[in-house]
């Protein structure tokens, strides 16, 4: 154990879940819930882990505490790798690192009084004297703003906010060094959220705790975290001091996320950057930069010159062609629904091409004639059900580094780290584009 080591350091942590089939469970694929994340937390510091649902932030929490076995990577606690711990050492570690959960209702055993629940970690770690436990629990309840007389009451007798206070008392009971809080305030009404967050930061200050605070709510993260790590699809895309990340986000995803928060000022409407589509499946994450399928700032290939929004649409089209996710019969039916044609046989090629263009919001003609010829050729082929050829020609013509190479985490000009090709010095980017904002 070294004194300078951070309280918790996570290095390249991975958690994959196998997808099994059949009785004997042959593995046919894996869900990459957490796919190589690294960060560290100091004593007395709060790290905010933020991302959309399904980005793997909760899995990261349970894996870094070894509540689930990591697939790969190291977790250093006080400089010692906990993934190497045996059962006895793991139990000691459990005393020093505690967890708080999202749902205050289900995090208490309905058949135990809250006194028993708060005392449970004490019992588990060997305090056999009931009177001592009772004294400690009463003191704890008072410290989190409850009354010591509540000790014999049952969970259903408390409100959500109160239960979350009691959950904090339980986490504190064994005097831990680290607390991992998984969305501790998101099940609560906004009006009491602030109280719980205040309590967490008060306790953190009082006891010098390291806190990993997980949330999907950027506002909450901004209020409580010292440092923030933004997750997308199992990876961290940007990390740095909270104020810096919020004031000058360096990754397009972070920018989009911050812009998506509705502004509390009714005079500043409609400023949001709209991300198209949904988060892809972690079972089959996109190649290269995982965000490239939705990125509004995806880098254009060399030698073409057209609008970013049209480029984005062409990229979407390309993705669907490659995965053969364009259903010609469906488009034919769509044409019938939109036009006077009634017989599927009568739908012309041009109508089909137009329908696909409008479906992907691709302009009637691209501003770059060379690109337009590649695209219209590909569209023709798709309508003729020649997906492989279309896919090949599109891949050749519209190659982008975002889809081929995975970006490294680099230090940006703003002073903190992000993993995006826009900051990657080896990638040729036109001058104006490096700090490109959304185009509308």
């Amino acid at each position: 154990m070294s004194a300078d080591a951070p309280l918790l350091e996570v290095r390249n942590l991975k958690k994959h879940y196998p997808i099994q089939r059949g009785i004997f469970g042959g593995e046919v694929g894996r869900i990459r819930a957490v796919d190589g994340v690294s960060f560290s937390v100091e004593r007395g510091e709060t790290l905010g882990l933020v991302g959309e649902s399904g980005c793997g932030k909760s899995t990261a929490a349970t894996t870094m505490l070894r509540l689930e076995e990591p697939t790969d990577g190291d977790v250093l606690f006080d400089g010692v790798d906990i993934t190497e711990y045996d059962d006895r050492e793991l139990k000691r570690f459990r005393r020093r690192a505690q967890m708080i959960f999202q749902d205050p209702t289900s995090s208490f055993d309905p058949r135990m009084s809250i006194g028993e629940s708060v005392a449970e970690p004490l019992r588990i770690h060997g305090m056999s004297d009931g009177n001592r436990r009772r004294a400690i629990v009463k003191d704890l309840l008072e410290r989190v703003g409850m009354s010591g007389d509540d000790i014999d009451r049952y969970p259903h007798e408390f409100s959500g906010g109160q239960k979350q206070r009691i959950a904090l008392a339980r986490a504190l009971s064994v005097n831990p060094d680290l607390i991992v809080a998984d969305e501790p305030a998101s099940a609560l009404d906004v009006s009491i959220q602030a109280d719980i967050l205040q309590l967490i930061s008060d306790l953190q200050e009082e006891f010098g705790l390291g806190v990993v605070f997980i949330s999907h709510d950027l506002g909450v993260i901004r209020d409580i975290a010292d440092n923030v790590a933004v997750m997308y699809l199992g990876e961290i895309v940007e990390t740095g001091p909270t104020e810096q990340v919020f004031d000058s986000p360096q990754h397009p995803y972070t920018r989009a996320l911050i812009d998506s928060i509705p502004s509390p000022n009714p005079r500043e409407r409609g400023m949001a950057v709209e991300l198209t589509g949904d988060v892809p499946s972690p079972a089959n994450p996109p190649s290269g930069c995982r965000f490239h399928t939705r990125c509004p700032e995806v880098i254009q290939p060399e030698g073409y010159d057209f609008e970013q929004s049209a480029w984005r649409s062409v990229m979407n089209f390309r993705t669907k062609v490659t995965t053969r996710q364009i259903d010609l019969d469906g488009i034919r039916e769509f044409v019938i629904a939109e036009t006077d044609v009634t017989d599927p046989e009568d739908v012309t090629h041009d109508q089909m091409v137009d329908a696909i263009r409008s479906d992907f919001d691709i302009p009637d003609t691209l501003s770059d004639p060379e690109a337009e010829s590649v695209l219209s050729d590909a569209l023709e082929r798709v309508v003729r059900d020649e997906f492989d050829e279309a896919s090949a020609s599109l891949a050749e013509a519209f190659e982008t580094v975002c889809a081929t190479d995975s970006p490294d985490m680099v230090r940006t000009e703003a002073g903190h780290s992000a993993s995006c090709h826009l900051h990657d010095q080896s990638v040729e980017v036109e001058p104006g584009e490096r700090i490109a904002q959304s185009d509308d």
Partner: protein, 350 residues
């Protein structure tokens, strides 16, 4: 078109009869909605905002629910007087609903197409083929790619955001005059929420309908509302123009709500205590037990009547706006409840 509002809710009371007593979920509220405008009903969970939205077309479960009193005038007709058969002709046709949880709002065992076609054919006398073509068109308009293919998919094959688009398409199937959206973005991620909010705005421009938008998120309110109704414990606390509500909030509750939004750092302040019992609500102003400015008179009698606050159309239910009180007192620092007093009350939750 007349100058009358499209919807005029007057003194609506909705109750639920339970084993423990009568829950007065909505206890006499009034507001109106003009044609083409968006009215946001905002409040915490348990404030009665969802029940209000479901009482308009009486889709609350009856029993145990009951519309005990009040009028709901929609385009000149009182919906509370209507028979269920008459009301059915309005539901989905002239007033449509979108609910919070798109996961639950679609029947899992029918294709989305079948469910939208059903919505169309309930009100319009069209052939199945025609309804199908209209459905594809609707799905395309709400931004579902490859509508012609997706129409035959089951709900589980859609993501949360896409499901909500399907639900919106279903609600728009008969081009309603009024769309009631009950927390339609709460279950979604912020990025998807932004998509849905923009979609609703675009569709409103296109169809010219009015929207009642129920939410607890003031950010969303600021994003889309024309007018705002602030509810607390079954009562309206304040209503008015969105700019007034955000720039000059009148009611202590509204002020408190604005102060407890996340993202304000140390400025952020929680509202102490918790929601009163809706079975046996406190006397006087419902917010008085949690109000930092409450005085003796606040805890007597009924909820104060709506008073005009500075500007016409901006009304507030607070005795500080009545004669003999000074509403500027509300701007000063909190008094009344001391911090320790408010900390652990909370009362029994359910």
């Amino acid at each position: 078109m007349s100058d009358d509002p499209l919807l005029d809710v007057r003194d609506l009371k909705t109750q639920f009869h339970t084993d423990d007593g009568t829950v007065r979920a909505v206890d006499g509220i009034s507001f109106d909605v003009d044609r083409g405008e968006t009215v946001c009903i905002v409040g915490e969970s348990g404030s009665g905002k969802s029940v209000t939205s479901e009482s308009i077309t009486r889709i609350i479960p009856i029993p145990p629910g009951e519309i005990a009193d009040g009028e709901v005038i929609f385009d000149g007709q009182d919906l509370t007087e209507m028979s269920t058969d008459q009301l059915r002709k309005i539901r989905g046709n002239r007033i449509a609903h979108v609910f919070q949880n798109p996961q639950g709002a679609l029947n899992p065992v029918y294709t989305v197409g079948k469910q939208i076609i059903e919505a169309i054919r309930i009100h319009k006398d069209v052939s199945k083929q025609e309804a199908r073509e209209q459905t594809i068109d609707l799905l395309d308009r709400v931004g579902i790619p490859e509508a012609g293919k997706r129409i035959d998919d089951y709900p589980y094959e859609f993501s949360g955001g896409m499901k909500q688009r399907v639900v919106i398409a279903m609600a728009l199937s008969c081009q309603p005059d009024l769309l009631i959206a009950d927390e339609p973005t709460t279950a979604l991620d912020v990025t998807i929420q932004a998509q849905i909010l923009r979609l609703l705005g675009d569709l409103q421009d296109e169809f010219g309908m009015s929207i009642i938008f129920v939410t607890h998120d003031l950010g969303v309110v600021a994003e889309i509302a024309d007018r705002v109704v602030v509810m607390y414990a079954g009562k309206v606390m304040e209503r008015g123009d969105v700019y007034r509500i955000f720039e000059n909030p009148a009611h202590p509750y509204t002020k408190a709500l604005l102060r407890c939004r996340p993202g304000q750092g140390s400025q952020r302040e929680a509202i102490r205590g918790s929601l009163p019992s809706m079975i046996d609500p406190p006397d006087g102003c419902r917010f008085a037990p949690r109000c930092p400015h409450a005085v003796e008179d606040c805890r007597d009698g009924d909820q104060p009547p709506m008073m005009e606050a500075e500007h016409p159309g901006h009304e507030v239910s607070c005795i500080f706006y009545q004669d003999g009180f000074d509403s500027t007192q509300l701007d000063s620092g909190p008094e009344g409840l001391s911090a320790s007093e408010a900390r652990t009350d909370g009362g029994e939750s359910r």
